[in-house]
């Protein structure tokens, strides 16, 4: 979609070869446009939910909320949270909002992988069968320094005392040796409830509602200096403090969250007639993550930015009008 968007934008902005936009500028505007539309989904979701309650939205093809939820859900990610210490866990650096935090109370076993393999876990020191590892249980990468930290997979088969076949490679394909892991039972999972900082004191001191392993709670905290941020973005993730304080098992707390969309990147390698030639095979290529139906909206947004860049009021106005019309149709 990104090449189509760029071509459309260039076509709109082109005026006697005056409206050329460099790939670098386009990528910047594309990122802004995508983020703008991404955030708009949540406001639209709220607005349409209210309309549904007023019987202003129907079911079937008229179910607008359903479509919005589908898009938002496509950004949903589940990750185990790296333990920073005791009951303090790091949130992922790419989260937009935390949807749910879950606690896996029963750890079956833990250890360190000793051999590489795709969709397998090998640990020569393990006793998977004797420890009670069974099909369907969850294997979590608990190595905080690993780029795959928090990734998880399900046990597909218990091959031997020392080897499991997994649904995924939670350690990555290349670096499966030396990563620590934990295996957790997938029954009895409980949701960890978000509680505001100003309530947690009262909650902890309430005999009836004090957090327990059956009804745990967490408070969101700011990033601490020792939180490892995303190497690419430099963002620092926030932390959560889980209650009761006995929840200290690394890998036992997972988050289901909505992540930010990845930054779109229109890539090229060669020039053709002085023009960069679109190359989808570059390592840093990234298409828009929003659905194709958002293409007009993205084009309109980028046109606004470009209109400002090239000081072309018509382009800006066109983008603005398109956006307004689009909003009117959607509401």
């Amino acid at each position: 979609m990104i090449n189509s968007v760029r071509n459309t934008v260039l076509a709109i902005a082109n005026k006697n070869n005056y409206g050329y936009i460099s790939p670098q500028d386009f990528n910047l505007y594309a990122q802004q446009a995508q983020m703008d539309l991404f955030e708009d989904y949540f406001y639209q979701y709220n607005a349409w939910t209210n309309k549904e309650n007023q019987r202003l939205s129907g079911s079937g093809y008229a179910d607008i909320v359903k479509g919005l939820v589908e898009v938002i859900d496509s950004f949903s990610v589940t990750r185990s949270l790296a333990q920073q210490g005791a009951n303090l866990f790091n949130l992922p650096s790419d989260y937009y909002l935390i949807n749910k935090v879950n606690y896996f109370p029963t750890q079956i076993t833990s250890g360190t992988s000793t051999a590489a393999g795709v969709n397998t876990l090998t640990d020569t020191a393990a006793t998977f069968v004797s420890s009670g590892v069974k099909v369907g249980q969850q294997v979590v990468n608990t190595t905080a320094s690993s780029s795959y930290s928090g990734f998880s997979a399900f046990v597909i088969s218990v091959d031997s005392e020392t080897q499991l076949t997994l649904s995924y490679s939670p350690f990555g394909v290349a670096a499966t040796i030396g990563n620590s892991y934990g295996i957790f039972n997938t029954t009895g999972i409980v949701e960890v409830e978000r509680v505001n900082q100003n309530k947690i004191f009262y909650l902890n001191n309430s005999p009836l509602t004090a957090p327990s392993t059956g009804f745990p709670a967490y408070v969101l905290g700011g990033a601490t200096t020792s939180v490892v941020g995303d190497a690419n973005t430099g963002q620092l993730g926030n932390t959560i403090t889980v209650y009761p304080t006995t929840i200290t098992n690394n890998g036992s707390v997972t988050a289901e969250y909505i992540r930010y969309p990845l930054s779109p990147k229109w890539t090229y390698q060669t020039l053709s007639s002085g023009e960069p030639l679109f190359d989808i095979n570059q390592a840093d290529y990234q298409d828009f993550e929003l659905p194709s139906s958002d293409e007009p909206g993205i084009v309109a947004k980028i046109c606004q930015y470009i209109g400002i860049e090239i000081r072309e009021g018509d382009v800006y106005q066109f983008g603005k009008q398109e956006e307004v019309q689009n909003n009117q149709i959607q509401t």
Binding site: T49, N53, E193, V195, S206, L208, T209, G214, F215, A217
Partner: protein
């Protein structure tokens, strides 16, 4: 789909204790109540939204407590021997008592609550009955009052049992009639409230003990009591009879709506009526009136009363 299979029900899947799941189908757990409420009664299209789970948990527990106090018949029974002070320490989850009995020679003897107090606080006093204070001006208190000590050492009572004040008193037999120094024969009728030969008890709620009189130390006492169903704070063990499940949802819903800002009064009223009628229904169900039981009672209708 069954909740648990037969092997899990009858034999706890081979684990110990084997009787863990017997009768479990009567109950629904607190976890399920909270989970079901969050799933079915709160959300963007429900009466209640933007709800914290701990609010549901609080009201669900409060509802279960209320049920335990006055609607459910979940009586707990604890048997213990009395200590040297003739005291029975109240069970850790005690809220109110139902019946207290002495277990003697294989028979349960229901005991009567003593209408007189069996304990008192007291202050230290000098020979002139002046109260004694410490250097900070606070009154000095002994651990036990005279009444406390007399009760534990077999105080006389007004009950017509072994500790009666009149027991073993001398009298005179003149021409076949007994005469005493006190007015035992001068009163017509019998004070049935105190006419009980069994030992008596009184409950000292503040100290958390049941005091007994005219009973031997080491006596075996059975206390039937009601708790609040909180299972000593073990959330995972809290459950409620399924007959009350719908009532609990209604109770939580009403409690939440009642405390919310901007909820129309007719909605609160609807929730309140729901709650009340469901409680009534559940009580009727739990009373377990059915033809078999009625028949047994009605069979006594032709009995001659002498």
């Amino acid at each position: 789909m069954a909740y648990i299979n037969d092997y899990a029900y009858y034999a706890n899947s081979g684990a110990i204790p084997q009787d863990k799941n017997w009768g479990s189908y009567q109950y629904v757990s607190l976890n399920d109540i909270v989970n079901n409420f969050m799933l079915m009664y709160q959300g963007n299209h429900e009466l209640i939204n933007n709800l914290n789970r701990y609010q549901v948990l609080f009201h669900a527990k409060r509802g279960i407590q209320e049920l335990n106090y006055d609607a459910m018949k979940e009586v707990k029974v604890l048997q213990m021997d009395l200590d040297d002070n003739l005291r029975f320490i109240l069970p850790s989850d005690y809220v109110n008592w139902v019946r207290i009995s002495q277990y003697l020679n294989g028979v349960l003897y229901p005991l009567t609550e003593n209408i007189q107090t069996g304990w008192a606080s007291t202050y230290l006093q000098d020979n002139n009955a002046k109260i004694i204070y410490d250097q900070d001006g606070n009154v000095l208190k002994p651990q036990f009052s005279q009444l406390d000590m007399s009760f534990t050492s077999g105080a006389k009572t007004i009950y017509l049992n072994e500790s009666s004040a009149y027991n073993n008193q001398s009298g005179w037999n003149v021409d076949g009639c007994w005469y005493f120094d006190f007015g035992i024969g001068a009163r017509f009728g019998l004070n049935t409230e105190t006419a009980n030969a069994n030992p008596t008890f009184s409950i000292d709620k503040q100290r958390g003990v049941i005091n007994f009189s005219s009973i031997g130390n080491g006596a075996s006492v059975v206390v039937e009591y009601v708790s609040d169903g909180m299972e000593n704070g073990e959330d995972g063990s809290i459950s409620v009879n399924k007959l009350f499940e719908e009532y609990l949802y209604a109770y939580v819903k009403y409690s939440l709506l009642n405390g919310r800002l901007g909820v129309q009064e007719y909605i609160v009223n609807r929730a309140r009526k729901d709650k009340s009628s469901l409680l009534r229904n559940a009580k009727i169900r739990l009373s377990n009136i059915h033809p078999g039981r009625l028949l047994m009672s009605l069979r006594g209708q032709d009995k001659w009363l002498k």
